[in-house]
Amino acid sequence: MTTQASGDALVSLNGVNKHYGQLHVLKDINLQVRKGEVVVVIGPSGSGKSTLCRAINRLETIDAGDISIDGKHLPEEGKQLANLRADVGMVFQSFNLFAHKTILENVTLGPIKVKGVSKAEAEKEAMKLLERVGVGHQAPKLPAQLSGGQQQRVAIARALAMKPKVMLFDEPTSALDPEMINEVLDVMVQLAKEGMTMIVVTHEMGFARKAADRVVFMADGQIVEDSTPEEFFTNPQSNRAKDFLSKLLTH
C-alpha cells in the first residue's frame, strides 16, 4: 500500500453479495479504503463495478455482507441513512443536476436543507466551490445551458458542498465528449492531491496511473486484483486482467 497508514478503514466492505434475480453481480466483495486513499475500480462492463460504487451509499441494496463508513454500519432506509449519505459525495455518469434549479441552487440545496446552513453562507461557500471547478460565471444559469463537462464539474462542486468524508465517482467521464474529459479529470486529480478519499469507477487508465493509490480490478462480480497502479499496469497477475489490458492497449 502506498499511502500513509492512518488508522482504521474509512470505507469497509466485508463479504458483500448481491444478486439481480439469477445474476450474481457482487460475489464476496471485501474492500477497505483508508482515509486519504484514492482507489480506482476498473474492469469490463458488467463486472459489477458500478453496482459496488452505488452500494456504498445504498443506492443499491445488498443481499448479504456488511458495509460501514467511518465505523458506522449503513442503516436501513430513513433519517439515519439520509444523514450517512450526506457524508458520502456521489458523482454520476449522467451528472443528474437538478434540472429545474440554477447551478448555484444545485450546489446550495444540500447545505441549506440537510445541514441547516444559512442561505447567505451556503451561497458564499457554493461560489467558492464553483470558482474552484472553473464554472463560477455560470452560477445563475440552468443545467441544460451548460456543456457536459461543465455540468459534471458542477456535480462535483455539489457533492463537495456537503463536505463529504469520501467521494464516489461512478464513471464520471463516460458520458462526455472526448474534449471535455480532461477538464473533469483535472478537477479530480486536484481533489486527489488535496487528500480527499476517493473511490473512482472509470475507464480512464490515464487517471488511474496519475492519481490512484490503488487499482482494484473487477471481473464477473469479483475483485480479481488489488494492487498499486504500477504493479497492475506493468505486471498484472491474473489472466483476466492481462486479457483486459491487452484489449485496451491495442487502440
Partner: protein, 208 residues
C-alpha cells in the same frame, strides 16, 4: 340579472375552493401512489379507484342527501358541494401528477438522496416541482373540467350558473337565449384558465 351574478359568484366560489383543496389532496394522494411504503400505496390506489369510478352526481348526491343522515355536524349545501367536488377532482389530479412523476428521470431522485435529502424532501424539492412542470396542459384540463362540473352542483340546490337557465325558463324567458348566455360566460371563464395555463407553460419552458 341578480340571479346571473349570484349564479356565477357561486360557480367561482365552488371552483376556487374545490380547485385548491383538490390540488392539495391530489398531490398528497399522487405522492402516496409512488411512495415506497406499501400501505400508503394501497390506500392511494383504493381511494383513486373507488372515487374516480363513481359518477360525480352520485358523489354529490351522497353529500346532499346521505351525509345529513350520518349524524355528523351539519354542513350547508355549498360546503358539501365543495367537499364532493374536491374529493372527486383530487383523483384526477393525483393520476395526472403521477404520470408527471414518472417522467422525471430516476437519476434526479438518486442525486437528491445522495446529498442526504430524505424521501419527503426529495419529493417536494426535486421530483414534484419537475413533475408539475411536465403536466401543466393535462392539469389545466382537469381544472377546466372542474369548472364545468360545478354546474352539476345545481342539481343539489346550490344556486350556481347552471341553475340560472332553469330559473330563467320558469319565468318564461326563451330557454335557448338563457343557455347561450350561460355558455358564453363559461367560455370566457375557461379562456381565463387557458391564459393562466399558457403563462405557466412559458414561465417554466426553459426547465429542461
Amino acid at each position: 340579472m341578480d340571479l346571473f351574478v349570484t349564479g356565477f359568484k357561486n360557480t367561482l366560489i365552488l371552483f376556487f375552493f374545490s380547485a385548491i383543496a383538490a390540488l392539495i389532496l391530489g398531490t398528497i394522494v399522487g405522492a402516496m401512489r409512488v411512495s415506497p411504503v406499501p400501505a400508503a400505496r394501497a390506500t392511494g390506489t383504493l381511494y383513486v379507484n373507488v372515487v374516480r369510478n363513481t359518477p360525480l352526481t352520485l358523489v354529490l348526491f351522497f353529500f346532499a342527501l346521505g351525509y345529513p343522515k350520518l349524524g355528523l355536524p351539519p354542513i350547508d349545501f355549498i360546503t358539501a358541494a365543495i367537499i364532493g367536488l374536491s374529493l372527486y377532482t383530487a383523483t384526477y389530479i393525483a393520476e395526472t401528477l403521477r404520470s408527471g412523476i414518472n417522467t422525471v428521470p430516476l437519476g434526479q431522485a438518486e442525486a437528491a438522496r445522495a446529498i442526504g435529502l430524505t424521501f419527503g424532501q426529495t419529493l417536494t424539492l426535486v421530483v414534484l416541482p419537475q413533475a408539475f412542470r411536465s403536466v401543466i396542459p393535462p392539469l389545466f384540463s382537469v381544472l377546466i373540467a372542474l369548472l364545468k362540473n360545478t354546474t352539476v352542483a345545481a342539481g343539489f340546490s346550490v344556486a350556481e350558473a347552471g341553475a340560472i337557465r332553469a330559473n330563467l325558463s320558469e319565468r318564461g324567458e326563451p330557454a335557448l337565449v338563457g343557455l347561450l348566455w350561460v355558455a358564453l360566460v363559461f367560455i370566457v371563464l375557461v379562456a381565463g384558465l387557458s391564459l393562466l395555463q399558457r403563462y405557466f407553460e412559458n414561465k417554466w419552458r426553459v426547465a429542461r
